[in-house]
């Protein structure tokens, strides 16, 4: 039950530890980490800038988390989304779902990522090797992925 929109990096091990500390009822933890890639559609990317509508992002991610927790029996969840400028290899987003059973943890994490992609107010601008900057277009496949839930 934690949502954070931040410029700094995150520490997966620390985030898992804070979900599990002192508990023995969690049987399954699924994490998803989204990472900035150095190539996109065949172009070399030197930097990625994420713009956000921060107050809404926090509100929307919290609503998504509540939604996930109403659909699956989760014992804990964490969503961290970074904004600002990142280099290839840098972490962008972290989702963690903890449950007694693996299927719930897998499905909830996958659901959160699908919904986050289409509903959380973040916009990516890629800077190519030549210095050209372009806003990344939304993908139809992301809408379809969210529609399956």
């Amino acid at each position: 039950m934690a949502v954070s929109v931040q410029t700094g990096d995150f520490d997966i091990a620390a985030e898992i530890a804070s979900l599990t500390a002192g508990r023995t009822d969690i049987g399954a933890i699924v994490t998803f980490t989204g990472i900035c890639r150095g190539q996109d559609d065949g172009r070399d990317v030197v930097a990625l800038t994420l713009e956000t509508y921060e107050e809404m992002a926090v509100a929307e991610l919290s609503r998504l988390e509540e939604d996930a927790r109403s659909r699956w029996p989760l014992q804990g969840s964490t969503i961290i989304h970074r904004h600002g400028t990142m280099q290839p290899g840098d972490n962008i987003v972290l989702v963690i779902c903890a449950s007694s059973h693996r299927q719930a943890a897998f499905e909830a994490a996958s659901f959160l990522m699908d919904y986050l992609k289409t509903r959380a107010p973040f916009w990516k601008a890629e800077e190519a090797a030549g210095g050209e900057k372009r806003w990344i277009a939304a993908k139809a496949e992301d809408d379809e992925a969210a529609d399956r839930w």
Binding site: G34, L50, E51, T52, Y53, E55, M56, A57, A59, E60, H81, I92, V93, M113, L116, K117, T118, R119, A120, P121, F122, W123, K124, A125, W135, I136, A137, A138, D142
Partner: protein, 85 residues
């Protein structure tokens, strides 16, 4: 009634500002009507909102369709489809 209008990503770049305060004129009740009003405020607005069917909006930090009534919302946001994650 004064509202704050926020713009993000390429919409912000095209409009040339991140946000502005505005007294909604009479006759502007929905977001679609607000967009029509904004497009008459200058070429930059007209260009920013020219891409029909792409612009998304939020009222007080919640997604809404463009035909939503603005009602008593204090903060209106316009932005392109989201590409986070």
């Amino acid at each position: 009634m004064s509202v704050t209008i926020k713009y993000f990503a390429w919409l912000r770049e095209r409009v040339g500002k991140a946000e502005e305060d505005m007294i909604l004129p009479a006759g502007v009740n929905t977001l679609t009507e607000l967009i029509a009003h904004l497009r008459r405020q200058g070429e930059e607005y007209d260009h920013a909102f020219a891409t029909d069917g792409v612009i998304r909006a939020a009222l007080d930090k919640r997604h809404v369709p463009l035909d939503a009534a603005i009602g008593g919302a204090r903060e209106i946001a316009f932005f392109p489809p989201m590409t986070g994650g």
